[in-house]
Amino acid sequence: MNAAVHALAETTALPVLRAEGLAKAYGPITVLKDVTLDIRPGEVHAIIGENGAGKSTLMRLLSGHARPTAGHLEMDGTRVDFADSVQAEAAGVVLVHQEILLAPDLTVAQNLFLGRELTRGLMVDDRAMNRRTAEVLARVGANAHPADIVSDMPLAQQQLIQIARALLDDRKVVILDEPTAMLANEEVEALIGVVDTLRSQGVAVLYISHRLEEVEQLADRVTVLRDGEMIGTWPASELDQRQMAELMVGRELSMLYPPKRGLSSAAPLLVVKDLSVDHGKVEASFEVRPGEVLGIGGMIGAGRTELIEGLMGLRPSHAGSIQVNGTTIARPSVEAMMHAGLVYLTEDRKGKGLLLRERLAPNLTLQALDSVSPGIMLDRAGETRALREAVEEYDIRVRALTLEAGQLSGGNQQKLLLAKVMMTDPSVVIIDEPTRGIDIGNKSEIYKFIDALVQAGKACVVISSELPELVGLADRVLVMRGGRFVAELTGEEITEQKVVYAAASSRDRTGGRAIA
C-alpha cells in the first residue's frame, strides 16, 4: 500500500461522497439498513461482505442506479438526490456493474461513447472515438479492438470494457463491483495499476472483491457489511485477510483449500480425442480420471470456454472420439452428455446460466427436469422440496423462495447455478469459474464440496482465472494458449509462476511437460 497517499486520505476531512442513513427495501424485504459512509478523495475504499450482504445494492444507491427508501447522499458537503445513473455520472460518480451491462450489437468504441459521442459537425467522429478507446483499453489492459462487436468477445474481455467505459471521463468516484471476478493474473495486475493511478489523481475508488488478498494489497480503508447492516469501517492497515473474513462472516474460518488427493491412475471417466471447435480455432485432446481435479488455466481468450462449449455441442465442433463413463458420444449435446454423466457449468450465468425473470424453482430444476418430475407432469411439490434442500445445502441466501433468479445477489446466483447442474447427479463436472463472485466463507464450502465429489470417485474439471484457486485445488493443470494445450503440470510443478509462464509464452514450453 502507498503510505503517503494513505496518509493524505486520512487527513482529508471533507468526504467527496457521503451516505447518510441509507436504507433500501424491496417491498417487505429490507436488504440494506441505515448505512452511513464517508468516501474521501484519493482513497481506495473496499467494501466487503458475504454474498447477499447488500454490497451491490449499496453501490447502486450511491450511483443513482437505484433510489434509497430512506437516507440521503451528500457530495462535497451538499445534499444530492440522483434521479438516475446519468445524473450521478454527470456529478462524477460512476458504477461498473458486477454483471455485464453493454449493448451487445455495438462495437467497443460505440459502447464506450454511447450517450456522449464525439462529433465533428453533424457527423460522429469515429476516428477520434476509436483512438481514445484504444488508449483507454490499453490503460486497463484489455486486448480488444475498438471496432470489435461486443457480443463476439469473451466475458472477461467485456468486463474490462465496462471498466474502460467508466474511466473514459474524469470522475470523482469510481465504483468497481467485483471487477476481477473473471480476470486472470495479468489483467488483474493491469487493473490494480489503474486503480493506483486513479488514487494518485485524487479519485475515490470504491472497490468490491471477494479476493481478500487484493483488498489487502489495494485498500486504504475497509467497510464491512453483514446482512444488510454496516459492521464498521477500518483502516486497511489494521486488518489482515483473516480478520476481514471473520468480520464478514462473524465466525472463525477454517482452512481454505482441502488437501490434494494426488494423481489418479484409474481408468479415465472422460476421454476426448482430437476435438476441434469453431473450425479449428481450438483443438485439443485430454482425459479426466476419477478422483482428480483437473484445472485448466490460461489467459482471457485462450479458448478454454470455447473448448468446453464445443465439447458440449454448443458450438460447431467435431471430434475424433469422445467417451464419457465408457459411453461413446456420437453427436455431443448437453442432453446426451448429461445422460452419460457429464455436466457443464457456464461462466456466463446471466446470459447462459439462469432465467433471470423466472423464479428459483424452475431455474433449479430446468436441467434435471426429467429426474425431478419423472412423468410428463411437473411435480411442483417435489420442486419446492428440491429448492429447500438446495438452499440449505448450498447456503443460498434468499429472503423469500418466491423471488426471481435475477433478484438474487451475484454470489447467490452462482450458488443457485451450481445447485442446478448438480441436480443431475453427474459423475464428471466441468465448472467454468466456479467461485465467480462467491464470498470467502462460501468459497471454502465449494472447495470442500468439490473435494467430496472427487473423493467419491467422481471427477471435476475446473476452469479458473483465479490462480491461487487453480493452484490450491487442482491435482493436475492443463494450460491453454491460442486454442491449444501448451503444458501439463502435476504435483509440485503446480505453481502460480509456472502456470503464468506457460499461459504467456508458447514458444519454449519449459513451464512443464510440453503437450503435442
Partner: protein
Amino acid sequence: MSSTADITAAPEKRRQGIRWGELAPFIALAVIVILGALINSNFLSANNLLNVVTRSAFIAIIAVGATFVIASGGLDLSVGSMMAFVTGIMIMSMNAMVPALGNWAILAGAGVALVVGSLCGLLNGVIVTVGKIEPFIVTLGTMGIFRAFITFLSDGGSIPIDRSLREAYRPVYFGDFLGIPYPVLMTIVVIAVGSFLLYRTKYGRRVTAAGSSDDVARFSGVHVGRVRTMAFVIQGFCVAVAAICYVPRLGAATPTTGQLWELQVITAVVIGGTLLRGGKGRILGSVAGALILEVIANVMVLSDMVSEYLVAAVQGAIIIIAMLAHRFTNAR
C-alpha cells in the same frame, strides 16, 4: 444465515395475493361488456351474448395455440390461411368419403383435418427451427402458400360441403349441450388441455424456458428447436380444431376464409397479457382477448354512433385504449 424460518413462510402467502396485472384483460372485458350493456339494451340479451361467445370460439381456440408459439419465442402469421387450407382439405375429403362412409365421413374428415393441421404446423416449425429463419418471415411465406393452395383447390370459388352431410354436421356449430353451444364446449376443452400442457407439464416449462432465453435453455439441455417446433404443431392442431367447429357454420371453404385472422389472434394473445418477446403465456388471458375483440365488434354494430366508414378506426382506438389501461393496472 438469515434464518431458514422466514424463508419457508413467505412463498405460500405470496401465491395467494391477487396479481392485478394478470386480471387486466378480464377487467377490460368486464368494462367493455358493461359499456355494451349501457349503449344498447339488446346487447345483454341471451341470444346476442350466446352468438358473440360462440363466434369468438374460433379465434379463442387458435389463440390458445398461438399462446404456445409466442410463449416459446415464435410467431405464426399463417394461421388464417392455414385455417382456410385445412377447411378446404377437410371438406374435400369428407365429400370424397361420403359414398363409402355416410355420416361417418364427418368424423373421418375431422381426423384428416387434425393431421393436416398438425403437418402444416410442423412445416412452419421445421423451417423456423432447422432453417433458423425469423418466424415472422417463414410464416408470412407459408401464409401466402396456404392461401394460394386453397384458392387453387377451389378454383377461386368455393368448396361447399356435400348436401347430405350438412344436416348431420350442423349441430357442431349450432347445437348445444345443456344450453352451452358446442363450439364453446370445445373451447373450454381446448383451454383445459392447453392450460394443463403449459402450466402443469414439463413440456410447458420448457416452452417458457425456450421463450425466456434461448441460450439458457440450450445450456440446460433443452432441445429448443424441438420444443418450438412442437409449439407450432400445437398451433396447427388448434387451427384444425377451429376448422372442425367452423365448417358447419357456413358449409364451405373459400379463398377468403380466415382472412386476417392472424392479426386478430395475435392481438387477442397480446391483449391477454402474453408478451410478444416470449417467455410467458397466459392462456385464459388470450381467450379473454378473443372475447374482447368479438364484443367490441358486436357493440360497434349494435350502437349507432359511428359511421360505417369509421368502425375500423374506433375498433383500433379501443384496442389501444385497452392496452393502455392494461399498462396502468400493471404498473401497480
